[in-house]
Subunit: 127 residues, 2 copies
DNA sequence: TCTCTGTTTAGACAGGCATCTAGACAGGGT
DNA sequence: ACCCTGTCTAGATGCCTGTCTAAACAGAGA
């Protein structure tokens, strides 16, 4: 097997996470906190927050590493390290197509995090 | 001057943060990332995430440290340390009234964070 | 005032993290 | 086949963090 590749999603939030009971509405149980905290932690670095944004807002929903790297004053390996962190937090998926590797956001978990922070469900609300 | 007290809010997000351009809509600028990343970082610990939830969901909008501490298998100083982290990230305010200290969530920044993660700002349905 | 309880600070330690350089793997072109 | 470019991994290093114990501060009550 290829030793170079191990992009297995380490966090599967769809399966066991109770999804989105707003943080300010009822107390977050320890298990949920243990699952979601790493995602917040991954976003807790300015570089990764920007990377996440660049990927999520990219045309076609995916961004090439070759476009991400030159946007920072950091070496390739460092960017790769941050992308790995986002990958392991379940925030993005990676796929190699030919020479370049493309990253794609996983909207589900972003929705979960946003739902957790939502203070005012406002109109449309839950379902 | 009182050496014990320095609960100055270190982050004033209202003033300079451009507030809530959704992360997936356009690229987060470096300055915004630098301001908001510490808030995500503060939520990136299971204990702090639970503390934040307990405070934000408390009756009357505030929670006493004396209620927070016994909810964890951690010493008082450790809880105090985490609360200080939340305070310095601008997520909560502290106020001493008599013997006890009460913590209160700052909804504005929670809204900012939620807005940043919101994939679809319009409440209704959506894919 | 003295004492008791609640809370924070100080200092120390182990572990984790961001960054770098050097090297390895993948794919395309010559 | 070879080399060149793009990307990731490995290992090292210095800083940051989570946790503890011990001690200091704040307020209430005797």
């Amino acid at each position: 097997m290829p030793k170079h590749q191990a992009p297995i999603p380490l966090v599967d939030l769809n399966a066991d996470a109770p999804c989105c009971p707003p943080l300010a509405q009822r107390r977050v149980p320890a298990e949920t906190a243990a699952v979601l905290a790493p995602a917040f932690k991954a976003l807790g670095d300015p570089v990764r927050l920007q990377l996440m944004s660049m990927i999520a807002s990219a045309d076609g929903g995916e961004a090439c590493v070759c476009d991400l790297t030159p946007a920072f004053d950091l070496t390739g390996p460092t960017i790769s390290h941050h992308l790995k962190t986002l990958r392991e937090a379940g925030l993005v998926d990676a796929e190699r197509r030919g020479t370049w590797v493309y990253y794609r956001a996983r909207p589900q978990i972003l929705r979960q995090l946003a739902g957790l922070l939502a203070s005012e469900p406002t109109a449309a609300t839950q379902r």
